[in-house]
């Protein structure tokens, strides 16, 4: 049922004339510091329906995505990222989520690029 509603909404939206891109490039900053963070961030992003491709660059903290705009939007992805314990500019992870990440990934204490050490 939900899918049907979603589909109809999609059709309506596109009919209204908003260009909804199937392969929209999106990039924003996500906090983290190491390879382990990279895997966790990319996995969290890819688990969001509509995210086709995700790659997080350790030194620049940029998460580059290709998303299907009809199925998702950046806020949905950011919600998933903070749930996994990683801060974004607009949304911050809860203390609970942040506590769950591996001790070596504690970026709030030290946000340096740690990729050489793992």
């Amino acid at each position: 049922m939900r899918n049907i509603v979603l589909t109809i909404t999609c059709i309506l939206i596109s009919a209204i004339g908003f260009a909804q891109d199937k392969n929209k490039k999106v990039a924003f900053e996500v906090d983290g510091k190491c390879e382990m963070c990279k895997m966790r961030i990319e996995k969290a992003a890819l688990n969001v329906t509509g995210v086709k491709y995700a790659t997080w660059d350790i030194p620049s903290h940029q998460l580059s995505l290709v998303v299907d705009e009809r199925k998702t939007d950046p806020m949905k992805i950011k919600t998933a990222l903070v749930a996994a314990g990683h801060d974004t500019k607009e949304l911050k992870a809860t203390e609970e989520a942040y506590d769950k990440i591996h001790p070596c990934c504690k970026y709030r204490e030290d946000n340096s690029d740690d990729s050489d050490k793992h």
Binding site: L46, K52, Y53, T55, S60, V66, D116
Partner: protein, 744 residues
């Protein structure tokens, strides 16, 4: 709150200036105050477009769609690269470069890498490993690696054949940059046609490979990546000489023509004109040889547009003369004055590779590869004439994309192959043409951590093998940290080139029997086998240094095989498999950096390879059931200008080997049932003077172990007991060599 205000300020600007990047470069400070940095450089990577910030730190730069990396630099600050995909406001804080005492932690890449995450059991051998044994060509590149066994092929040519999982190289798919290479007419000598210095890296895949590269691989795949003109040294010279009289020179010349085009010229020559007969049997221990090998590569790379292209042209001329030391081809050819043999090969290769990555969709790409080769071998072994011409065309089109997201990927494509053979065996002409078209689809899933799997299926239609499916399946599971369990299953089939693969049998008095059943390939059916395997890899840290332990087991079961039976010393017979034929292989390996800079690798291998011959189910002849391997490598710490000493030592110990039955021979020409076990040691020392120059000296078979009578009936090579095929150990003894490498 601050961000929202900032955002409000930015909004009108973004609307007004769509095709511009405006922003401010500031000095980083603990209070996050806006301290503008005037005079900082702001420019697009790889472009002429740049600007300098004004006194208050603000700047404006045109937005160029073809660039997405904006570089901000200022003396005394760390240079930053921003990824920018759309016109927007940029506020950037530069970190003073003296803020952190920069500690560069460089991680040396291991010379042999076992992957924990790939679905397939792949071992990558890079060029650092290849330098451990100054190998002359690809067939000698595996001496320091336990995954591949190097065997001596025959008493005449001394060509080293390789084995994996207990099966000889025809059951391996050997590719060069993923284009099938050593096959058909080049099966026996093909590995000696790739000079060692041309090799950038080798990937060894155990077990059934990917469906992408065809249906032929049965026990595994060896892929060789050659040096790329864009990344290889502009000038490279390697000279090598050994005490058996072999001289070798390799020259690479690479030029960058523009930022997109590069070309390289690779020239190899080797020569041996000293006659060596250490065992005084009247036969050369190693052939007189002469090889010229020239390759020209072109590389095109355009990362913005997503195109990558390679063109390759190669020409090879290889001449070998073997036999009795007093054999002179001009006067003694096809006479009984002296026994001799000449093998002359001319080969031309051309190939093209084309790759395109959709710039907007980094997960989607297509690739096309095509190659042409013409291989002509003219040879005779005593009175046996063997000529083969092989013309081959291969092309493969491949499309990669995803289903949903990058956790679910697929590859699909089409293959077209043509092989034209013209083969003359004594007076008999074997002419044939192979044509095939195939389509494949391969799905791979990765959960990024725990599980990944690859499942592939291809359908081929071949004029002699018929129409058939080839399934391949691989799975990997990570039960805990630094561990990996893999399983694989695959079916492979091939049309055996029985003469090309068994050429050494011509150098004997054996008569050749073809006991075909009217099949399409020399009267035989296609070979077909199933391979499955499991492997376990565990990485560990002991004494604060890394190590790994692995164990794997593979089994290959033949549905049909062309059985080469030489259990009767008077003949060699070929027939379709009747009964069983299988190969079990178990390998246990332990590697560790036991002391700083001292790396130790050890392996034990057990092979149980049996085939139903005419005389019953027998162990494969000339193959040791037990093998031990050890390699110790030590490097001194690199000095500032790159100077270093490197030491390397390898031990191969082989258990007893079953010999083909010789009981029908007269007493003096019988060999017993088994050859005793023995061990071989190789060592090499390299002195690196600087990044530009190094010299090496080394030795193979340091204990000087030799097989006593490699040529049966050497006194009477035209008699009925002449046989050069029963070789289980080196023929020439200790071999010392030296060489240098120059790079600039």
């Amino acid at each position: 709150m601050k961000q929202i205000i900032l955002l409000l300020f930015c909004l009108p600007m973004m609307v007004g200036a769509q095709k511009k990047i405006q922003g401010m470069v500031m000095e980083a400070n603990t209070e996050n105050k806006h301290i503008g940095l005037g005079g900082a450089n702001v420019y697009w990577l790889n472009s002429q477009t740049g600007t300098i910030t004004k006194n208050d730190g603000t700047f404006s730069i045109p937005y160029l769609e073809e660039y997405n990396k904006l570089i901000i630099s200022f003396v005394g600050f760390r240079t930053d690269t921003l990824i920018i995909d759309e016109p927007k406001m940029v506020h950037h804080w530069l970190q003073p470069s003296n803020q952190l005492d920069e500690v560069v932690v460089r991680k040396e890449r291991d010379a042999v890498q076992k992957t924990f995450f790939a679905t397939q059991n792949v071992i990558t051998v890079n060029s650092a490993e290849l330098l451990k044994a100054a190998c002359c060509n690809l067939s000698e590149s595996f001496e320091t690696n336990p995954a591949i066994d190097v065997n001596f092929n025959d008493a005449l040519t001394g060509t080293k054949q390789i084995q994996m999982l207990g099966l000889t190289s025809p059951y391996l798919l050997i590719t060069q940059e993923n284009i099938p290479m050593v096959r058909g007419a080049s099966q026996t000598y093909g590995l000696t046609f790739t000079p060692g210095t041309w090799v950038e890296s080798i990937q060894i895949t155990k077990g059934g490979g990917s469906v992408v590269n065809g249906y032929e691989s049965i026990s595994g795949q060896i892929n060789t990546e050659l040096q790329k003109p864009m990344t290889d040294n502009p000038v490279f010279v390697n000279g090598y000489g050994n005490l058996n009289g072999r001289l070798e020179l390799n020259t690479h010349l690479n030029t960058k023509l523009s930022d997109k085009w590069s070309t390289g010229l690779f020239i190899h020559g080797n020569r041996r004109d000293i006659e060596v007969d250490n065992n005084d049997d009247g036969f050369l221990d190693t052939p007189l040889a002469n090889q010229i090998n020239i390759m020209n590569r072109w590389q095109y790379q355009n990362p913005e547009k997503g195109w990558v292209t390679f063109f390759n042209l190669r020409f090879l001329n290889d001449e070998k003369q073997v036999g009795e030391t007093n054999f002179n081809p001009d006067t003694d050819r096809f006479t009984t004055n002296a026994w001799g043999s000449e093998i002359d090969t001319q080969r031309f290769d051309g190939s093209v590779k084309l790759g395109y990555v959709f710039p907007e969709l980094p997960f989607q790409s297509f690739g096309f590869q095509a190659s042409y080769s013409s291989h002509q071998q003219d040879s005779y072994y005593g009175f046996n004439v063997y000529d083969i011409d092989h013309e081959s065309i291969y092309s493969n089109f491949l499309f990669n994309s995803i289903i949903g997201n990058t956790k679910n990927k697929f590859k699909t494509g089409l293959t077209f192959a043509y092989d034209g053979y013209d083969e003359l065996v004594n007076n008999q002409d074997f002419e044939r043409v192979d044509r095939s078209v195939g389509a494949f689809f391969e799905y791979s899933y990765t959960s990024l951590e725990k599980v990944s799997l690859t499942a592939g299926l291809r359908l081929d239609s071949h004029n002699r093998l018929g129409t058939f499916f080839t399934p391949r399946f691989h799975i990997r599971y990570t039960p805990w940290e630094k561990a990996s369990i893999r399983g694989s299953f695959g079916i492979g089939r091939r049309a055996a080139n029985i003469f090309a693969e068994n050429q050494r049998l011509f150098a004997s008095a054996r008569t050749i029997q073809l006991n075909g059943n009217g099949g399409d390939i020399y009267g035989f059916d296609a070979e077909k086998a199933m391979n499955f395997g499991i492997s376990f890899l565990q990485g560990f840290t002991w004494l604060e240094r890394p190590g790994n332990f692995s164990v794997d087991f593979y089994r290959t079961d033949f549905d049909n095989q062309i059985v080469v039976d030489w259990e009767n010393p008077g003949e060699v017979s070929f027939s379709n498999l009747e009964g069983k034929s299988f190969a079990n292989s178990l390998q246990v390996e332990l590697n560790h950096e036991i002391l700083p800079n001292l790396e130790v690798r050890t392996a034990y291998k057990f092979y149980d390879v049996k085939t139903d011959f005419q005389t019953g189910l027998l162990q494969k002849p000339l193959q040791a059931r037990h093998r031990y391997f050890a390699n110790v490598g030590y490097n001194t710490t690199e000095t500032e200008n790159g100077g270093q000493w490197r030491f390397d030592y390898t031990l191969h110990a082989l258990g007893e080997q079953r010999l083909p039955n010789t009981s029908a021979n007269p007493v003096g020409f019988q060999l017993g049932d088994f050859a005793e076990g023995y061990s071989l040691m190789n060592a090499q020392i390299t002195k690196v003077f600087s990044k530009k120059f190094e010299v090496y000296v080394g030795g193979e078979n340091l204990t000087n172990f030799r097989q006593n009578n490699p040529v049966l009936g050497a006194e009477d090579p035209f008699g009925t007991n002449f046989d050069t095929t029963i070789i289980y150990a080196p023929i020439f003894g200790r071999m010392l060599y030296a060489g240098f490498r120059f790079k600039s």
